[in-house]
């Protein structure tokens, strides 16, 4: 009985033309990535409110559902039924297009993220370059939103945010070059497999300064506290999305959190061995829990997301000139010097590069 059903389904599948099979197959896997991603975005917002709540000796959201678990769902439903106000002076097309411009790259970057050995949608060789390109696209959403709103607050927020994102992208790019030198590949799966062998083989040790630069730049790139002058409540109200409401605002929000998860995932892939178990070499590699697997990737990613929230709860907001000084006068010199040191070490075959 079951076999006939499967055979019937297979015959329908084969009846489709080849291009449609490729399209549907890919769509299936994309949905498998995207749905958990959206759910985690929703629950990162809940985790943020809850964690910051506990850090400030409050209990955070606790009314909707048991312990507030349904809070993100309630928020999403509420935002869906809210009017999108389009200001009279705004450029309507760009105003509504900006959130789309900002969420599309935040989602599409996940196409090349490896979740486990071989679990990657597009196993492309230029993965890191693709990610760098897409994270740069995010700034268009911000600047288009600020310009199209035709409000002074939005305009100033967008200008600040664009200059900040662009400055930190240089430091971030230099940090990525360091990772490339250590791994010799742009493919994220290969970067992880180069870190095989246990905790001491992870790239965090030879690339320690670059790890700090990358993570802090990641926080600045996503406009998170303590670098959130783009939406500083006390200065420019909400920055570039001050005139957005309802679902248009929610899409910006989703993009921001998807980017946070992306930066956390990339940090765990590039510096902490992604899906590799920290007990590698110590325990039997066939062990389900202590061996390599997607759960290690998720745990490391969750840890870095927690770091984002922790930073927000701990630090006061930077002043804008301090942000620019940190990006240009501290991070860029540090990374350039470290790249030189690393290049010499690679050629001299010393330290972790000795083959």
């Amino acid at each position: 009985m079951i076999e006939t059903v499967i055979n019937f389904a297979l015959s329908i599948w084969e009846w489709f033309p080849l291009w449609m099979q490729a399209l549907l197959g890919n769509l299936f896997f994309i949905v498998i990535i995207m749905v958990p991603l959206m759910l985690s975005v929703a629950y990162v917002t809940y985790a943020e409110r809850k964690i910051i709540g506990y850090m400030q000796v409050r209990i955070g959201p606790n009314r909707v559902g048991p312990k507030g678990w349904l809070q993100p769902i309630a928020d999403a439903v509420k935002l869906m039924f809210k009017e999108i106000v389009i200001p009279t002076n705004a450029n309507r097309f760009l105003f509504l297009g900006a959130p789309i411009l900002s969420i599309a790259p935040a989602l599409a970057a996940w196409a090349v993220i490896p979740f486990n050995d071989g679990w990657v949608l597009a196993d492309v060789n230029a993965a890191l370059l693709y990610i760098l390109a897409l994270t740069s696209m995010g700034v268009y959403g911000v600047i288009v939103a600020g310009w199209a709103s035709n409000s002074k607050y939005a305009m100033m927020g967008a200008l600040r945010s664009a200059a900040q994102v662009v400055s930190y992208e240089i430091a971030m790019g230099f940090a990525l070059v360091g990772v490339l030198m250590a791994s010799g590949s742009l493919n994220l799966g290969e970067i992880i497999s180069k870190q095989q062998g246990g905790v001491s083989d992870w790239f965090i040790w030879p690339l320690l300064p670059l790890f700090f630069v990358y993570f802090i730049s990641g926080v600045a790139e996503t406009n998170r506290a303590p670098f959130d002058v783009a939406e500083g409540e006390s200065e420019i109200v909400a920055g570039f999305h001050v005139d957005y409401s309802g679902m248009a605002f929610a899409v910006f929000f989703l993009a921001e959190y998807a980017n946070i998860i992306l930066v956390a995932a990339l940090t765990s892939i590039m510096f902490f061995g992604g899906w590799l178990s920290p007990f590698e070499g110590l325990v039997d590699s066939d062990s389900l829990l202590l061996g390599n697997g997607i759960h290690w990737f998720l745990a490391k990613t969750a840890l870095f997301i927690f770091m984002f929230l922790w930073l927000r709860a701990t630090f006061p907001r930077y002043r804008y000139d301090q942000i620019m000084r940190l990006g240009w006068k501290v991070f860029i010199p540090v990374t350039i010097v470290w790249l030189f040191v690393e290049a010499v070490m690679v050629v001299m075959q010393v330290g972790p590069w000795a083959v």
């Binding site: 002074k152 350039i336 050629v347």
Partner: protein, 119 residues
């Protein structure tokens, strides 16, 4: 080789569609639309906006943008170099050293000129 990039293309398209679908669903199907002049005025802390918001802004933003282009190009050059560094060895280091050296001199000049100051 190139078919590896098909899922990437589909993913980008789906990302755009998801964004569009959310805006259309939230903004035009489920949500009410009751515009009025007060609601649709740009946010200005309750004041009437008395001039266009596309105002003049500080020239330093341009400066940052120009510097960014130079350094980002630099990164684009460094990417392939970093991958093959262990094959090209000392020659690679010297060549990139000269290239980076020129850039660093420019960077020091900017720094001394105060292009990076935001007082």
């Amino acid at each position: 080789m190139l078919e590896n990039y098909l899922p990437v293309l589909i993913f980008i398209c789906l990302g755009l569609i998801v964004g569009l679908a959310m805006i259309v669903m939230g903004g035009f199907i489920l949500a009410p639309r009751r515009p009025d002049p007060q609601k649709n005025s740009p946010y200005e802390c309750g004041f009437e906006a008395f001039e266009d918001a596309r105002l003049k802004f500080d020239v330093r933003y341009y400066l940052v943008a120009i510097l960014f282009i130079i350094f980002d190009l630099e990164i684009a050059f460094l990417f392939p170099w970093a991958i093959v560094l262990d094959e090209i060895g000392l020659f690679g280091i010297v060549a990139m050293g000269i290239f980076l050296g020129i850039l660093v001199i420019g960077f020091i000049y900017e720094w001394k000129k105060g292009a990076l100051e935001w007082e």
